[in-house]
Symmetry: C2
Subunit: 252 residues, 2 copies
DNA sequence: AACTCTGCTTGATTTGGATCAAGCGTAATC
DNA sequence: GATTACGCTTGATCCAAATCAAGCAGAGTT
């Protein structure tokens, strides 16, 4: 126990204050001193590999997890054996927020590629939030953001057709990756066509056909998991994103 | 300003501490003294009527709203003129949580029938939460609950067919109403068939046909907005609610 | 009572995407 | 280099629910 308080060389290297994601993640809006206090409760694990679970549905809720590098999918069992992919999580994004209420995980989280993950014991985070108003505020914001994102997904699944869904998915990936300093037009998808289809409420075959169609129409080049977006504007048009008057505030 | 501190007879009558919803709503888990502090920041308005808005998309976010009596729907504009119904809100439920992050409402909230609404200025609630750990915890729980509920909706829209969706909707209404002390099997729906269909991602005609079919199959009696559930178990079966409690680890 | 409006129901037809059914390409294993 | 396996693509067929099209019933108005 006492040993954990020793700040090792490793811990300094990976500390929140040096993390390029700190402005997307929990530390956002915190002063340096508070970032260090937050840093003090975060556990960092060995790298995790494709297929490893952060947690499984049914397990007791203890910690939130943040993707540092790599990617993670969350999914829930559906009534008849199948599963529903609930989301794909990129660096800086927080996983496990839905478990706070029931104190138990309702979904599972599995890493899609070799990933580094930060673990945050929730009760310690709550204690800290009580004494750091800007951390409390940031946590409310993060929870709220998740709700807003879910509402967008409801709209997508309730009102959009297959083409609009895939376009919206690609635009979302593009936006999120570029926020993390990666290319908005050239990226690798870590999830399978099957997982994309599941997430978007479409059959694998439909997803595959749409990738082909988008390529035929000159919107993108696709080679397996490698996507190059050639016409971002048209893709946004298909996704139903109004570009005239693009009123700031497009977070996510 | 000074006048607002005078506790009027009216305020005492409708105070949180006397509210039958307090165990479903924000005061849950708070000691009496803290309930009174919470009560001190809540504004109560004149009754609102069918069609009135609590807020509209685009407006600055200032307050959360809680339904005290009646019901409210939230909805967002979809790309082509239409709208997506995001939720129906019953007494004790909190509205506006998705706006915290952007500091601006992305959706609109409209009352479906004559309703009483409590308004909670968010910045004051945040201040209070900083000094009352159990209130902070309850707010995290409420935000988390909303996320969990949205995940259920994603599963519904992504994986369930029309019949399963309507059954799940009716079961949800039944459960929520009975929690509020009303009948689980005999209730009035305050929303139109059109709104139900919109919410569930179905055409009005499909909703109407399903009500007829459920009635023909002896699952319920329907007369306009009045629903009597005759066979709750079968309805749960259709909705895909496993009653045998057998959720092993569906990995993948 | 007749008229209108709006929300709901019912029937006929269409269709987007699911499902079924092969094949194909790449990567891992032998 | 052959073999297997899995993920992806492509084509053919099918079906659940959307759309189109009336008609109907209750609530409010004249």
């Amino acid at each position: 126990m006492a040993q954990r308080k020793v700040i090792s060389f490793e811990n300094i290297r990976v500390a929140c204050r040096n993390c390029t994601l700190s402005q997307l993640c929990l530390p956002m809006g915190l002063v340096a001193e508070d970032v260090d206090r937050l840093d003090g409760i975060i556990k960092r694990s060995r790298p995790m590999h494709r297929g490893d679970h952060l947690f499984r549905g049914g397990e007791r809720f203890r910690s939130l997890f943040v993707v540092k590098t790599g990617s993670v999918k969350t999914y829930a069992p559906s009534s008849e054996g199948g599963e529903q992919v609930l989301g794909f999580h990129l660096p800086g994004e927080i996983i496990g927020l839905d478990a706070i209420e029931k104190d138990c995980h309702a979904c599972s989280a599995k890493v899609l590629e070799t990933s580094a993950i930060c673990e945050i014991p929730f009760h310690r985070l709550e204690e800290l939030a009580s004494s750091i108003p800007s951390l409390q505020h940031q946590m409310f914001r993060l929870l709220s953001k998740e709700i807003g994102h879910d509402a967008e997904m409801l709209l997508l699944l309730g009102k959009k057709n297959a083409e609009e869904r895939l376009a919206a998915f690609l635009i979302s990936m593009s936006k999120r990756l570029s926020k993390r300093g990666l290319s908005a037009t050239d990226f690798y998808l870590s999830m399978s066509r099957h997982e994309i289809g599941n997430y978007l409420g479409l059959a694998v075959e439909t997803v595959s056909r749409l990738f082909t169609r988008f390529q035929d129409e000159g919107l993108l080049n696709v080679d397996r998991k490698h996507v190059q977006v050639l016409d971002l504007r048209s893709l946004e048009g298909i996704a139903g994103i109004v570009q005239a008057e693009d009123h700031q505030q497009h977070s996510n």
